[in-house]
Amino acid sequence: MSHDNPMRMRENAILRVTSKGLIPYILLFALYVQFHGDFGPGGGFQAGVIFAAGFVLYGIIFGLDAIQRLIPPIMVERGAALGVVIYGGVGVVCLLLGGNFLDYNVLSAHEPMHGQHLGILLVELGVGLTVASAMTAAFYYFSARAR
């Protein structure tokens, strides 16, 4: 084990194979947590963080350039803003449909409970998008500074 020529992480067989096997399941689990927040513990915050953890793992092992090729920094910056816009947009749509701000009952014409389900789904999507983008952005900026 020579320390003057360290092997890069993407050349290490164990790290490469394990992470390539795990990362799809991490992202899938994040999607599961996002949409099953209504039925068990979970929701937008946890799902966003797990998404970001998957991306960060890929970035750590295969390099910042690899992950930034997949998810450019501009997409991450816009994603953070888009999440907040989605959340506020749901509230404004409720206003336009005649209810109060973020009053989900008016989102569905025939059954208020369906409106609640739709409202909660969209709002958690917005939250998940913002949290995932913010955490990935933080990782990008910290890594880019180290260059």
Binding site: F39, G40, P41, F45, V49, V131, A134, F142
Partner: protein, 133 residues
């Protein structure tokens, strides 16, 4: 007087809080201060969540798993603390970014050296201003 069985959670939360506070006020390294703040935050969340716990209760999720339990644990502290955790990590991120910039500007991340450098610079500026007059 309060009993141990009824209050040990609060006492241990306060102990944790004081450990975090000690790290923030006594350690000079900025990153160590932020770690102490992290400990402090977790202890406050622990305290809050312990307020909502009901012995003999179940997590506040309705459904077939919750049959046979008389109480649900209070969901309101959980909601507030969920918010607090995520906001806490966001502020930790900003704090660590500030530490990185301070390290780049001063060459060190130890508070006593930074304060000393600022004092030396102010002293040198004062001296040069007096010479010019």
């Amino acid at each position: 007087m309060s009993s141990f069985a009824g209050h040990w959670v609060y006492w241990l939360s306060i102990a944790l809080m004081m450990i975090g506070l000690y790290a923030v006020i006594s350690r000079d390294n900025l990153v160590k201060k932020l770690m102490g703040l992290n400990i402090f935050q977790v202890s406050v969340i622990m305290f809050y969540v312990a307020l909502g716990k009901i012995i003999g209760g179940t997590p506040p999720i309705l459904g077939p798993g919750a049959e046979g339990f008389a109480y649900f644990s209070n969901p309101l502290p959980h909601v507030l603390m969920l918010t607090a955790i995520v906001v806490g990590v966001a502020t930790t991120a900003v704090g660590l970014a500030l530490v990185v910039r301070i390290r780049e500007a001063y060459g060190t991340a130890e508070e006593d050296q930074i304060v000393q450098m600022d004092r030396d610079e102010a002293l040198a500026a004062e001296r040069s201003r007096r010479v010019r007059r």
